[in-house]
């Protein structure tokens, strides 16, 4: 049976030239920064604070970028990614308030270092097992981190840690939001975002911070992926034995992917802790890991733009349709099933996978054509 497929998404020819791309990208970046200020109708979530939703989306996008290195590039199914996220958050909280008074920015390098180290400690013994076994071991890791935090008074126990330090505030100027009323746009002077004050109510500055971090990680991702490191990851994913025989130390590269993934996960955890103000172990449950993996798979593992889109949607859709109450989870499930049926490789699969599938379809059509010819002749 032929599987129905959605049309391939490709940019039209005039949009593919380099200057057009750069200008387009610049506009997109500006638009993303301005998004919470614009308060566009339809897009803006009606039932929850849009700045807060955007901020959560941004942390998930960051996580998806990190997890994509592990799952998408190196092909290692990590079901315990929330563990790294938790370690990043807890390091910041422990240094900032529980056992020290470090400023937020100073906790970040330590947080990512600790997370990377934990990635290496987890990876060194477990990356020798493959496939499903790795998934099980990592699943266990995620739970161990949560339970360790829950049962350790030193880490705040089940109540967690309050008053996580916030990023340093610098009040430079106020940005008024827009208000849309019956087709007219008004500048809402009563609703201003203080740039850049990291407070308790307005999440827009946090969103800007997370967005900036995303861009930095994204650039690093592009640079690494297009080097021999990226090639080695891809080769390892495609055929580990063949890669090894071609001189790729696959274990080292898998460990590197784990460490890089952990780095980004810890960074995201650290940033999310600052925004959340207080953290507690049960917010790092296994379901969160599942959502992370869902974001990567829905978007199209291996394609950085795909996984970012996937992460954004996974957070946005349930918030946008909060009005549907519990039905929204049902709708989300239905959407996942439809996606798995019609586009199993994700919304935006990597270019190469797309090409391979296109060839497969072309061949199928050719074969069908032959059959028709045979019948008619």
């Amino acid at each position: 049976m032929k599987r129905p497929t959605l049309p391939e998404i490709t940019l039209p020819a005039p949009l593919r030239s380099k200057p057009v791309k750069i200008v387009g990208l610049a506009i997109l970046v500006l638009f993303l920064y301005a998004l919470p200020i614009l308060d566009l109708p339809i897009i803006t979530t009606p039932d929850s604070d849009f700045g807060g939703v955007l901020y959560t989306m941004a942390t998930y996008v960051l996580i998806a970028l990190g997890l994509n290195i592990v799952i998408g590039y190196a092909g290692l199914l990590d079901l315990g990614y929330v563990g790294f996220y938790a370690i990043g958050a807890y390091t910041t909280a422990v240094l900032g308030v529980q056992h020290g008074h470090w400023p937020f920015l100073a906790t970040i390098p330590v947080a990512v270092a600790v997370t990377m180290l934990s990635g290496v400690i987890l990876g060194a013994p477990t990356l020798r097992v493959r496939g499903d076994y790795l998934a099980i071991v990592t699943l266990g890791f995620g739970e161990i981190i949560r339970l360790a935090a829950k049962n350790s008074d030193w880490l705040g126990g089940a109540r967690g840690i309050q008053n996580v330090p916030k990023p340093p505030s610098v009040h430079l100027f106020d940005v008024p939001h827009l208000r849309w009323e019956n087709g007219t746009v008004l500048i809402d002077v009563s609703n201003k975002t203080q740039a850049f004050v990291f407070g308790f109510i307005d999440y827009v500055p946090y969103y800007w911070l997370a967005l900036t971090v995303i861009f930095i990680v994204l650039i690093a991702d592009v640079l690494i992926k297009s080097s021999r490191v990226g090639r080695a990851w891809e080769a390892t994913r495609e055929d580990e034995d063949a890669a090894e025989v071609m001189g790729v130390p696959t274990f080292r590269y898998k460990l590197l992917a784990f460490a890089m993934g952990a780095f980004v996960g810890g960074l995201a955890g650290s940033i999310s802790a600052a925004g959340a103000n207080f953290i507690y172990p049960d917010s790092y449950q296994i379901q969160v890991s599942v959502i992370f993996v869902a974001a990567v798979v829905i978007g199209g593992q291996g394609n950085r733009w795909g996984v970012m889109l996937g992460a954004a949607l996974v957070v946005y859709l349930p918030e946008r349709f909060r009005g549907l109450e519990e039905y929204r989870i049902l709708m989300f499930g239905v959407a996942l099933m439809l996606l798995a049926t019609f586009r199993p490789q994700g919304l935006l699969p990597p270019r190469n996978a797309r090409r391979a599938r296109k060839l497969e379809r072309d061949l199928e059509e050719l074969e069908v054509g032959d059959e028709v010819q045979e019948v008619t002749s």
């Binding site: 080097s227 071609m246 391979a356």
Partner: protein, 265 residues
């Protein structure tokens, strides 16, 4: 039995290698040597242990007894990627390319073996990284051209024709810059015309200064291209010598050719 004395120095030495899987003896006290600059054929009926022997030489299996030495260096404690790095490359009988990567990238993975720049260099695009990247790319393109698929570099490995995939395997192995190239049934599934072209390619590879070990089923191909032949049967070496000697060897005829010829006539 007399053998042609090969001219070059010993490059790789299989020294009394025995390999057992549980109760099965896959290789039984096998010894032979590959000399610098020759094309050595390794033949034998199905299940004779050719590929197993190959896997021992490239570090996939560890010998139960005996050792494989490359230029005097024992291989049994080395990791597979290290064996590649000291100069032994191989292709796979059942093609194992990196399917979702382009042909060029496949070859570049092999070429990266000799690149030393790491993550930080890549992250900051240092001059050294740019230089090595360009060099690896240039060499990969050259190799694609050398094996005759220069125009296919941009295509995905999975999208290449069967013959081109076999050629790509050879290019990828050559990219690791080996001293010894081991080809595991590179002509499997080829028609006579394709086999002829492949023989030319193998000779061309040797003329470039590589030493070649060829595992092959097709007797004509082996006879036509190799300098010396080692014959395995049931995991034991039963003959070694020049193609003519091996062809006339009664043990070989009984084990291999005899049966074949009777079937054919």
């Amino acid at each position: 039995m007399t053998t042609d004395q090969p001219t070059g120095e010993v490059m790789l030495e299989v020294d009394h290698v025995t390999l057992r899987f549980g109760g099965v003896t896959a290789l039984d006290d096998v010894s032979f040597a590959i000399h610098e600059g020759e094309i050595l054929g390794l033949i034998g009926p199905n299940g004779a242990g050719k590929t197993t022997c190959f896997n021992v030489m490239t570090g996939v299996y560890r010998p139960t007894m005996g050792d494989v030495r490359f230029r005097g260096q024992g291989l049994s404690r080395m990791k597979r990627f290290e064996i590649t790095r000291i100069g032994i490359a191989r292709t796979f009988q059942n093609i194992r390319l990196f399917k979702t990567m382009t042909a060029l990238d496949n070859v570049m993975v092999g070429g990266d073996t000799h690149s030393s720049v790491g993550l930080l260099n890549a992250l900051f695009r240092t001059p050294r990284q740019r230089h090595e990247e360009a060099e690896t790319r240039r060499r990969a393109l050259e190799l694609l051209d050398f094996v005759g698929i220069g125009r296919r570099g941009d295509e995905l490995a999975a999208n290449l024709s069967y013959g081109d995939q076999r050629r790509l395997e050879i290019a990828r192995a050559l990219a690791t810059n080996p001293k010894l190239l081991c080809l595991d049934e590179p002509a499997a599934g080829f028609n006579p015309a394709e086999k002829e072209r492949l023989m030319e390619l193998i000779r061309k590879v040797r003329d470039q200064g590589y030493t070649v070990l060829l595992i092959e089923h097709d007797m004509r191909l082996v006879m036509g291209v190799t300098d010396r032949i080692v014959v395995l049967e049931f995991g034991r070496k039963i003959a070694e010598g020049s193609p003519t000697e091996v062809r006339d060897n009664p043990a070989v005829i009984a084990a291999y050719l005899g049966v074949d010829e009777e079937d054919a006539s």
